[in-house]
Structure formats: structure tokens, C-alpha cells
């Protein structure tokens, strides 16, 4: 049976005594030879010629066999050689989560009728939704054109496609903000999607308003984003165009690579143009706490000592105890922390605590450093904070931390985040700041791990998660396991993207927003498939997206 547009009926709703249709869910049986999969969006006829849209969450095949034993007996007691002449009667049933009802027309004043959320009745025709229906079901139809950011493509079992848009005001503020991406590694989803989304944002809004800061945490993945790809398949190009985007590399990109021990850039890949950054003591005076982020300090002794040292260094005079401290070496081995190789107490802080501080600091900036901490930067080596303070809208800044030690990575990330936050939080008319800054960081679990422990770096990230929206500082983060990240960071992300995850992971409470049936589907997602939960959407949806249009070696 077809309707006027030729959209065939694929089944009829089914309500039974034990499995009724409700305001939230309905079931429908599927006609023979029609393929329906989880995440397909369907429409059912309802009262007042309205349509109820729903998301298929699961499918069941039912037969009249009373038990599995009945099927065993029906095969001549376990024989696998015969085929039945009359196959057993069976039907496939789709379970659907109600997304919306369109009310069936318009009110006299032209506004749409209110949705009808009475349960869908038995025996109502069900069809696959068309693109306009999918948009209505998701709430995209009411999204302003200028606020639409292409986020991927829904591809349903009947080959119907629909472009999915995120609402700009929920991605980069002011309604809500932040995007968090989860999923196991190696499926080219998290980073690729983040870069696709950034490109999409830059193409669909006035890019001069937005500056992008990208932390490169793995290999040279993001160190050639301004170069075109060696080859981009035609179908990938077509997908970019289908989404209304141009497949092009990033423009106005600035790369910052850490210095190595020999003063050269310490990086897996060298972009065509880059700057080297390093940290000497004077760069870190007010950031020593970030260096000790991962050092347990239950009595806050180290924290007090850092306060003393920072103050001493900031306000040092020719007569102050820190007068002779000029670099890491003199801080570690000279007065006031050390005399003749022995740690000295400072005020109420015992010598043993100072000794602990020195041991950790020595390890971090001297014995275990990759070279990013140096006693003195050369003229070629910049100070990251100063570079970040020069950010402009329409430019992208890539900070490479891939080859750094964990504590160095945390320090560099914390340095950048603190600098940005302070710039925007204490912004006045004198600073020519872009309207928004978008920060992308992978492996967020390293910097804001789940748990009760607090650290200066976690506090910094929480500040951005909770107050960044109003300041214009937007966090686009990724990690393998959402459960490994601080819940206040993920909880403040208005858009959550989930790639394939393990079943143990998706059973964690962080995934409560997913229907039980959909959770299992997450374990089956293929490469390039993602689940999107957006503040505007009524249900999570499955999308595909194009491969990056920049060079990846």
C-alpha cells in the first residue's frame, strides 16, 4: 500500500495485552521482505491525520513455537538435514521510542497543532520517515537556518538520507555548549569527527568570530591539517557536498612544537611552518601548581610550598631569599630550598617536605624532561602563553604535545587552558579577543579523570565546562571511555558523540541517557558510524560523516 508520495507501508502498529503501546513507545510488525534496523526513524498514522515519529530501538522475531524445544522437535528431534515444507509462522516486531507527533495540520492562526501523545492505536500503518519527517522528528525543522551546523548524515535501511544539523546556540553557546566524544581507539572516529565538526562550524558561521586551539596528542595526526589530502575518494567528496560543506583543509593554521633536549622541535612530524615552545622557570612562576597536578598532596603541604615559592619568585628583590634563583637549576640546588645539597625548611614547612618537592621537581624538569623544560629559552623558542595571547578569530592553533611526558602534556594543556580562561574571564575592551575560542583535546581522561580527587588542572577544566559557555570558551573533548572522565565535564557537554564502545563501558552510569536497547547497538557500531545525542534532539541518532579533507600520513 502506498501513500500519495509513493512511500510504502512497511507494517502496522501492534498493541497487545502484555505489550501495550504507550505515550513513549509503540511496536509494529514488519511486512515480509522489508528490512528495518535499529536507529531507523519511522512514522505512524495517528489521530487527526497526524503522524507520530519514532526511533527503532530494537527488533524481535517471534514465532508460535512455545519454546526452543518446540523448534528442536520440529526439526525431527534435532536433525539438520530436512527443510520444512510449511515454514513456521513468524513475524518481526520493531520496538519504537516515540520522538514527536506533528499534531496533524495547523491551527487557524497558522501555527502547528499541538502534538498528540496518546498511545498510537493498534493496526495503524507505519512507513519509513522521509527527510522532512526526520527533521521534524529531531526538531531540526524549527532550528533557524543560520544556526544549523551540519553534523553528519542519517542513512536509513531504505536508503533514505537526511542531513543532521546541530544547533549552533547549543554547540558554541549561549544556550549550552561543549561537545564530548567517546569511543574505543582505532576506528578513526573520535579525532576525525572532531576535526570534521570544527571544519563544519568554521564553514557555517562567521569564522572570523572563532579561534580554534587543537592539542595534538598522538603522532603527527594533526600536524598537516592545512595541507590537502593526497587522495580523497569521490564518494567522500560527495558526502562533504551532500552535507553542504566544502572538502578543504584548514586555513590560517599555526603550529607550536615543543623543544627537545637538543633545542630542535621534538615532534613526530614537522609541518611546513612552525614555532618552537619551551618553558624556563620564569614562564612557570605562576603555574607551578599545574606541574604538580598529578602528585598526591593530601595535607596540601606541597600546595603551600608552591605558594611560597611562587610569591617569592614573583616579588623577588636583590635582598629576598629568592634573589639568586634564575632558572630551574638554581631553584633546585640553591638557596632558599637547598644549602650544601641539603633541603631547607621554609617557614612552617619542614625540610623533608621541601625535599619531596625538590625530588618531584627535579624529576619533572630535569631528569625526566623531554627538553621542553629548559634553564633558558633561546631566541627561536617562544613562550606558549605569549603566543596564545595573540590568538585571532579565523585562525587555528595546533599545539603539539604528542612526544611529551605525561606530566609535561598536562602542564602544557593546563598552561593553555588557564591562559585562555583568564583571557576571556578577565577580558576588557583593551584585548582584541575573538568572540569564541574552541579548544579540542583528545584523551581528556588524562587531564580531568573521574573520581573525587581534585587538582589545579581539574579545577581549570571544570571552570571551562561550567562557565566557559558564557565566556565563549568551548571545549571539544574526546576520550576512549566517558566513564573515565570527570562527570561534571561530560555532564556539561550539551552534545555527546559516541563511537563503538565495549559492553562493560556502556553499562556505566554515564550512559544513562541511552535506552537499554540502544546501548547494545553501540557495541555494534561500524567504523565511521557514530551516535549523536544533542540537546535539541529527542532521541540519539546514528550518523555517518566524511573523512577529513586534510593530509593524513
Amino acid at each position: 500500500m502506498n501513500d500519495m508520495k509513493g512511500n510504502p507501508v512497511i507494517g502496522r502498529t501492534s498493541a497487545t495485552d502484555r505489550d501495550p503501546n504507550t505515550a513513549d513507545k509503540f511496536n509494529f510488525w514488519i511486512t515480509a521482505d522489508v528490512i528495518v534496523n535499529p536507529f531507523d526513524i519511522v512514522e505512524s498514522e495517528h489521530f487527526n491525520s497526524s503522524k507520530t515519529y519514532g526511533l527503532v530501538t530494537n527488533l524481535e522475531h517471534r514465532t508460535d513455537a512455545a519454546s526452543h524445544l518446540a523448534n528442536y522437535v520440529s526439526n525431527n528431534f534435532g536433525s539438520v538435514t530436512e527443510e520444512p515444507n510449511t515454514p513456521r509462522v513468524g513475524a518481526t516486531l520493531a520496538k519504537v521510542n516515540v520522538m514527536m507527533n506533528d499534531g496533524g495540520g495547523k491551527k487557524p492562526d497558522g501555527s502547528p497543532q499541538d502534538g498528540i501523545y496518546m498511545p498510537v492505536e493498534n493496526e495503524r500503518n507505519v512507513r519509513f520517515a522521509v527527510e522532512s519527517g526526520i527533521h521534524a522528528a529531531l526538531g531540526i525543522d524549527t532550528m533557524k537556518e543560520e544556526n544549523r551546523i551540519p553534523a553528519g548524515l542519517i542513512k536509513m535501511s531504505n536508503e533514505v538520507e537526511a542531513v543532521v544539523y546541530l544547533d549552533k546556540t547549543y554547540v558554541i553557546g549561549p544556550e549550552s555548549a561543549h561537545v564530548n566524544i567517546s569511543g574505543i581507539s582505532g576506528l578513526a572516529t573520535k579525532t576525525s569527527y572532531a576535526m570534521f565538526l570544527i571544519q563544519s562550524i568554521l564553514q557555517k558561521i562567521d569564522s572570523s568570530e572563532v579561534a580554534v586551539i587543537i592539542m595534538n596528542v598522538k603522532h603527527g595526526d594533526l600536524l598537516k591539517i592545512d595541507e590537502p589530502p593526497k587522495k580523497l575518494d569521490e564518494d567522500q567528496k560527495a558526502l562533504w557536498l551532500r552535507l553542504g560543506l566544502e572538502p578543504k583543509p584548514f586555513q590560517n593554521v599555526h603550529y607550536y612544537l615543543p623543544r627537545g633536549k637538543n633545542g630542535e622541535a621534538n615532534s613526530f612530524v614537522r609541518p611546513r611552518q612552525f614555532k618552537i615552545y619551551g618553558y624556563e622557570l620564569n614562564d612557570c612562576v605562576d603555574k607551578l601548581d599545574l606541574l604538580f597536578s598529578n602528585i598526591p598532596d593530601p595535607t596540601e603541604t606541597i600546595d603551600s610550598l608552591i605558594g611560597e615559592i611562587s610569591n617569592g619568585l614573583m616579588y623577588r628583590t636583590a635582598k629576598s631569599p629568592f634573589a639568586k634563583v634564575q632558572d630551574w637549576q638554581s631553584l633546585l640546588d640553591g638557596p632558599p630550598l637547598s644549602l650544601d645539597g641539603r633541603s631547607q625548611g621554609m617557614g612552617d614547612i619542614k625540610a623533608s617536605s621541601v625535599g619531596k618537592f625538590r625530588r618531584h621537581l627535579r624529576r619533572m624538569v630535569k631528569t625526566r624532561t623531554t627538553g621542553v623544560f629548559t634553564n633558558r629559552r633561546t631566541r627561536n623558542e617562544g613562550h606558549l602563553e605569549e603566543e596564545i595571547k595573540k590568538i585571532e578569530g579565523g585562525h587555528t592553533y595546533v599545539i603539539d604535545i604528542a612526544k611529551l611526558q605525561d606530566h609535561e602534556q598536562a602542564f602544557a594543556f593546563g598552561d593553555m587552558v588557564r591562559t585562555i580562561y583568564e583571557m576571556f574571564a578577565e577580558s576588557d575592551e583593551t584585548l582584541n579577543l575573538p568572540e569564541k575560542v574552541l579548544i579540542f583535546v583528545d584523551e581528556l581522561n588524562k587531564y580531568a579523570p573521574a573520581g573525587l580527587r581534585e587538582s589545579p588542572l581539574i579545577e581549570q577544566i571544570l571552570d571551562i565546562s561550567e562557565r566557559g559557555r558564557s565566556l565563549g570558551v568551548i571545549l571539544l573533548s574526546a576520550q576512549q571511555f566517558m566513564s573515565a572522565v570527570h562527570s561534571r565535564v561530560t555532564g556539561n557537554s550539551a552534545t555527546k558523540i559516541i563511537g563503538r564502545s565495549t559492553s562493560s563501558e556502556i553499562m556505566q552510569p554515564d550512559y544513562r541517557f541511552l535506552d537499554q536497547d540502544l546501548k547494545l547497538s553501540v557495541t555494534r557500531l561500524s567504523k565511521g558510524e557514530l551516535l549523536v545525542q544533542h540537546a535539541v534532539f529527542r532521541q540519539p541518532i546514528k550518523i555517518i560523516f566524511p573523512k577529513p579533507a586534510y593530509r593524513q600520513d
Binding site: D64, S67, A70, F77, E82, T86, V89
Partner: protein, 222 residues
């Protein structure tokens, strides 16, 4: 709902003469079977021509009650899941006549085999038994056997090949069973089970019928 009142004293092929069974419940049951058989026969007549090249299976027998007669259409067979166990079979070997009980006849019948065809109802029908399932897998030796009945018609000579072909087609339906849903699963043919299941969905429940009768009686009293 239409309620038709039937006279239980009226003779029919199942209830027999009124004197033969005085118990009204028994006669009511017989009358119902009689009416059901009439309806079945009418349905067979109606649908028989829809499939001119195919054969039709009537659930139960084609003979009509204990007085014989009944369906006389070609390409129609009756298949019964239940049959009397007191039936005796007389086999003529030359001049000698051998009597065999149904238990000995069917107990040793191998799976997929049939008995010879026997004449019934004074030559109006022929019938045979067909074992669908091994008796070792079942509770009783007579389980897993169906009785197949065919009218004897001049235009439809009952050759061995025909009976074998019919038996083969019935055997092919042995695999899907309503095990766990119906106690007679061992001798059910799945298409018949499905037809029975579908038609039963349309039945009124006992409570509804009881209510209608009570209502009718109440009105009569008023």
C-alpha cells in the same frame, strides 16, 4: 450474534436416533459436531474449485458421523489426529481371514510408512494410517500417527501410487509442530494447526456465549 435453536430430538448422523442417547449433553455435543460437519462440508465445496489442480485436506474425516456417507468430492482427503482404538482389521489371505487390532497394526509401523488402505462405510471411503514420527520419541505407540481418509469415487481410482503420493505430501508436513502449544502436536499437520489457530481467534469466548444465552433466557422470562 445469531443464536440458532436446534431440536436435540431430531436425528442426525452423529447423535443418531433420540432413543439411542438420552443424555441431553451427549446429544448436544453430537448435534454440534453434526452442524460443524455440515459447515465444514459447505466450506470444502466452496473452496474446492479455488484450487482445481491441488488437493484439499479436511481436518477430521470425510465420512459423516457413524452412519457413513459424507464428502464425495474428488481431490479431497480427511486427516484425523484421533481415531478409535477399538477398530479391528480383517485381512483376507486366500481363504483365511486374519483379524488384527489397531495397536498391533500401528505399534510396529516404522516412521514414514503407511498401512494398506482399508475400505470403510460399506465401500464409500478408503482409509489408511501414516506414521509421522518414531514411536520411540513419544509417550504411546499410537502417537505420531494420522488417519487419512479418501472418498471412493469412480472418477478417482485409488491406485497405490496415488496413496503413496498423498502420504508423501503429508509426511513432508511433519517437521514444524506445535510442540508445547498443543497436546496433539505429534500428529498435527502444521498448516491445519495454523488454520485451526486462525479460526479460533474469531471464536466468541465461552463467557460471551454463556452471557448471550442467559440474556436470551432472561428476556424470555420477562
Amino acid at each position: 450474534m445469531n443464536i440458532i435453536i436446534q431440536d436435540l430430538a431430531e436425528m442426525d448422523a452423529f447423535s443418531g436416533d433420540f432413543k439411542e442417547a438420552q443424555d441431553l449433553r451427549e446429544r448436544g455435543r453430537g448435534k454440534t459436531r453434526h452442524l460443524m460437519s455440515i459447515m465444514e462440508f459447505e466450506i470444502v465445496k466452496e473452496f474446492r474449485d479455488c484450487v482445481p489442480d491441488g488437493w484439499m485436506i479436511k481436518d477430521g474425516l470425510v465420512s459423516f458421523g457413524k452412519y457413513g456417507g459424507g464428502m464425495q468430492s474428488p481431490k479431497v482427503i480427511g486427516v484425523a489426529k484421533n481415531f478409535t482404538t477399538v477398530q479391528k482389521f480383517y485381512l483376507q489371505h486366500g481363504k483365511s481371514r486374519q483379524v488384527e487390532s489397531i495397536t498391533s497394526l500401528l505399534g510396529n509401523l516404522p516412521q514414514g510408512h503407511r498401512t494398506p488402505a482399508y475400505e470403510g462405510f460399506g465401500g464409500k471411503t478408503a482409509f489408511w494410517y501414516l506414521r509421522l514420527r518414531k514411536s520411540q520419541q513419544l509417550l504411546y505407540p499410537l502417537f505420531g500417527v494420522i488417519k487419512v481418509e479418501i472418498p471412493i469415487l469412480e472418477e478417482q481410482p485409488l491406485l497405490t501410487e496415488l496413496l503413496d503420493e498423498i502420504s508423501g505430501a503429508l509426511l513432508a508436513e511433519q517437521f514444524v509442530t506445535p510442540y508445547g502449544s498443543d497436546d496433539r502436536w505429534h500428529s498435527h499437520l502444521y498448516p491445519i494447526y495454523q488454520a485451526e489457530h486462525a479460526s479460533k481467534q474469531l471464536f466468541y469466548s465461552t463467557q460471551v456465549i454463556q452471557g448471550c444465552i442467559n440474556n436470551a433466557l432472561r428476556r424470555q422470562h420477562v
